[in-house]
């Protein structure tokens, strides 16, 4: 191959994102470039470092392409992080389209030295519990929940839950021996941790309501590497990235979500729906978190209110 691109990510290769997206995408690029571009995939942080370093690794050329989460480096990619706040997600496809648009409008200067290839989200988080389903705020009182990120933790704390931030390995053991009562994660990660065997109940917001939270993801490429490629090959990368790619990954995450849900159903776990009115009350409890986020954006020199309003507009439009 004329150009070798090392793609580094943190998921194990059994994850659907690796086998159903990265490998397929790498194959498409090889084909479109007649074999001139060889995308070598290194899963599970095989090139060293920990997931929070992926953004730096791709900027510094330690790898050529990296798939990472803005929340891994809190405060560095504030615009992309905006949609990781509670109640800033619908389904993965629509939210990904909205996020990509938001980044086009507000996030152009956040990635010096890096060429973003796609921005996307996963589907909204669900509450998976051991002993009882969560249907209303009263069910959350004193419940020991593992939160996926800071903002979601703040939201669950505001609603009365007792929040812990265990690493995932401790979360799995904690769920099995009862140190914690549940966790907040999308269905998509259920197979990875066999969550369906560790919990008995899953609560999802009613379809019309916003998701509890959704992490944002970015697929980034080293800019120097991109620039030193020939025009033809740059064209191959251009065609394989951008808004269409963001939407495609979002759509795939919806499929992963459906698969994860089917695992929960197959296990015979009880799946309940949190009513839309209840979620509306929860959203009010999250108002201070959103207000604080706007302040944070303002402090960093952005127009926080405008970004937040535009994000909501894009989400509601989808």
């Amino acid at each position: 191959a004329e150009v070798t691109l090392r793609l580094h990510h943190f998921l194990p290769p059994v994850a659907p994102m690796h086998s159903k997206f990265f490998e397929v995408w790498a194959g498409e690029i090889a084909e479109a470039s007649n074999g001139a571009i060889d995308v070598q995939i290194f899963p599970a942080m095989q090139l060293g470092g920990k997931p929070p370093q992926l953004a730096d690794q791709v900027r510094q050329g330690i790898c050529d392409i990296a798939w990472t989460l803005p929340v891994y480096t809190p405060g560095r990619f504030l615009v992309a992080e905006t949609m990781s706040n509670p109640f800033m997600t619908t389904n993965a496809e629509k939210s990904s389209v909205a996020l990509h648009q938001l980044m086009d409008e507000f996030g152009q200067n956040d990635y010096p030295g890096v060429k973003p290839l796609a921005f996307h989200t996963h589907d909204g988080g669900k509450l998976h519990t051991r002993d009882a389903p969560v249907l209303s705020q009263s069910d959350l009182q004193g419940l020991k929940l593992r939160a996926p990120n800071q903002a979601t933790g703040d939201m669950l704390t505001a609603l009365g839950a007792e929040v812990v931030f265990f690493p995932v390995t401790d979360m799995v053991v904690g769920l099995s021996n009862g140190v914690i009562d549940g966790c907040c994660l999308p269905y998509e990660v259920v197979p990875a941790f066999k969550l369906q065997e560790l919990t008995s109940f899953s609560a999802a917001p009613a379809p019309a309501a916003r998701g509890l939270y959704g992490n944002t993801f970015s697929l980034l490429m080293n800019e120097a590497k991109y620039n030193e490629m020939s025009d033809d090959l740059r064209g191959v990368i251009d065609a394989a990235s951008g808004a269409a790619l963001s939407q495609r990954i979002g759509k795939q995450f919806d499929a992963f979500e459906a698969f994860g849900k089917s695992m929960v159903e197959k296990q015979g776990n009880e799946i309940v729906e949190i009513p839309a009115e209840e979620i509306a009350r929860w959203r009010e409890a999250a108002d201070p978190i959103h207000a604080a986020w706007i302040e944070k954006l303002n402090d960093a020199g952005h127009d926080g209110a405008a970004i937040m309003a535009r994000a909501n507009e894009l989400l509601d439009a989808g």
Binding site: P12, V14, A44, Q53, Q60, G61, V172, V179
Partner: protein
């Protein structure tokens, strides 16, 4: 030069440097850095090394290593470990090689609260080496039994390696822990048999002590109530749902301190020397962990482990032959690499291969069986020369024992492990029977 050839040369270069008395951490770091520059570039090596040290050690998983080592030093300085050996000697010391067997039993006990082999080896070595030396055990037998016993840290659940395997293959961690129990007990039995054969062949290396009277035995039990409290609280805490195994390490340190003070062996001075001793062993282990990190990244960049694994997978031979080829590959690589990197680099390729083959098992059973086999084989890498982390740990604890002696001492245990691998491969049911019985 193509990356594959380069990787093979790197491995050879590492061997040569290690044989030339280069400290292991330095040898791995140098060879790794050279390979990194060849396969990537000097500027990316510079970038990688500007954060890699802090990234590597800002880690909850690695933090249990100094915690468990500290726990071991505190236990030694407070005299708690001496009383464990008092009791062990009273009960089985009169057997030939009894103290070595007691060390293995101690490792098994410690391994049931610790998930790391390095922590188990260093803690128990700290506790048991001086005692065995005092009672006339040879350096080879005492270091061999402790290096082998140390592997019980990952063979007996909880186990860091199994956690990584479970995450890579999307298996249930708790079921895997359960699955590892019977193979873990088999390991203890195998090590005991190895010791008894060893001391029959070389009686002078593992002398017997005088048989204790019944009254002495009962008294010795009264001396170990501190240990009993520590184990009951830590084990009960983990299995009773009060804390997670990683939190258990911290609780263990605090409890050992409290029990040491109650026992009267701990003073400000002895606590300080425990801290200094912890510093020495931790730095040595972490330096190797860091050197290994650079070396393993270089190997990953070459894609040599992945390509070899893919070659074995794609060779179209019978299922059992594939399994044996994988085991042989692991055994060879185990001489050179540390267990976690081996799992990380190869399981992603081997696991789907094994799962696609028909061994007449349910998918989940097959996944657990392969998990246990991988665990046992990479664990064996910890005690096979020349790169065997447990051997280095023992060497650091007892600089007066020559590396040659340590290597010699592990031979019977390596033989025991080979036997166990044959048993586990021949009877897959041993790896999932308990899970079927309890969890399903």
């Amino acid at each position: 030069m193509d990356p594959f050839t380069l990787a093979v040369l790197l491995v050879i270069a590492l061997f040569i440097l290690i044989f030339m008395r280069v400290p292991i951490a330095l040898a791995m770091g140098l060879v790794g850095a050279f390979g990194y520059v060849q396969l990537s570039s000097f500027s990316s090596l510079k970038a990688y090394l500007s954060t890699a040290w802090v990234d590597k050690f800002m880690s909850y998983d690695l933090a249990v290593v100094p915690l468990f080592i500290l726990m071991g030093h505190l236990a030694t300085h407070s005299g708690i470990s001496a009383s464990i050996f008092g009791a062990a000697r009273a009960w089985i010391g009169h057997l030939r090689g009894g103290l070595a067997m007691a060390s293995v039993a101690g490792c098994a006990l410690f391994g049931s609260i610790s998930g790391s082999s390095l922590a188990t080896a260093s803690t128990m070595a700290r506790v048991a080496l001086p005692e065995m030396k005092k009672h006339g055990f040879s350096g080879a037998l005492s270091s061999g039994s402790l290096a082998a016993g140390g592997t019980l840290g990952i063979l007996i659940p909880p186990s860091v390696v199994l956690i990584i395997y479970a995450l890579l293959t999307e298996q249930n961690i708790v079921k895997l822990f359960l699955a590892a129990t019977i193979p873990g007990i088999l390991a203890v039995i195998g090590f005991m048999i190895a010791i008894s054969i060893y001391v029959r062949l070389y009686p002078e290396e593992g002398p017997t002590s005088q048989k204790a009277s019944f009254a002495e035995r009962i008294r010795s039990l009264g001396d170990i109530w501190h240990v009993v409290v520590i184990f009951v609280v830590v084990l009960g805490g983990i299995y009773g749902g009060f804390f997670t195994p990683s939190q258990g390490a911290a609780v263990g340190v605090v409890l050992t301190l409290i029990m040491g003070v109650i026992k009267g062996g701990l003073t400000v001075n002895t606590v300080m020397s425990s801290l200094i001793d912890t510093a020495g062993s931790t730095a040595m282990i972490f330096a190797i962990v860091f050197g290994a990190d650079i070396f393993n990244v270089a190997l990953a960049l070459s894609r040599m482990p992945m390509e070899t694994a893919a070659f074995i997978s794609g060779s179209g031979i019978s299922p059992m032959a594939v399994m044996i080829a994988i085991i042989v590959f692991y055994l060879v690589m185990g001489c050179l690499m540390d267990s976690l990197s081996m799992i990380l680099l190869t399981v992603p390729v081997f696991f789907p291969t094994i799962m696609a083959l028909d061994f007449g098992l349910q998918p989940e059973q097959q996944a657990m069986w392969f998990g246990i086999i991988s665990l046992v084989v990479v664990e064996l890498g910890l005690i096979t020369p020349p790169v065997g982390m447990n051997l280095f740990v023992i060497s650091a604890m007892a600089p007066e024992i020559r590396m040659t002696e340590i290597f010699r001492g592990t031979i019977p245990f390596i033989a025991a492990e080979f036997t166990r691998i044959v048993i586990l491969v021949s009877f897959p049911v041993l790896s999932f029977w308990l899970v079927d019985l309890i969890a399903n």
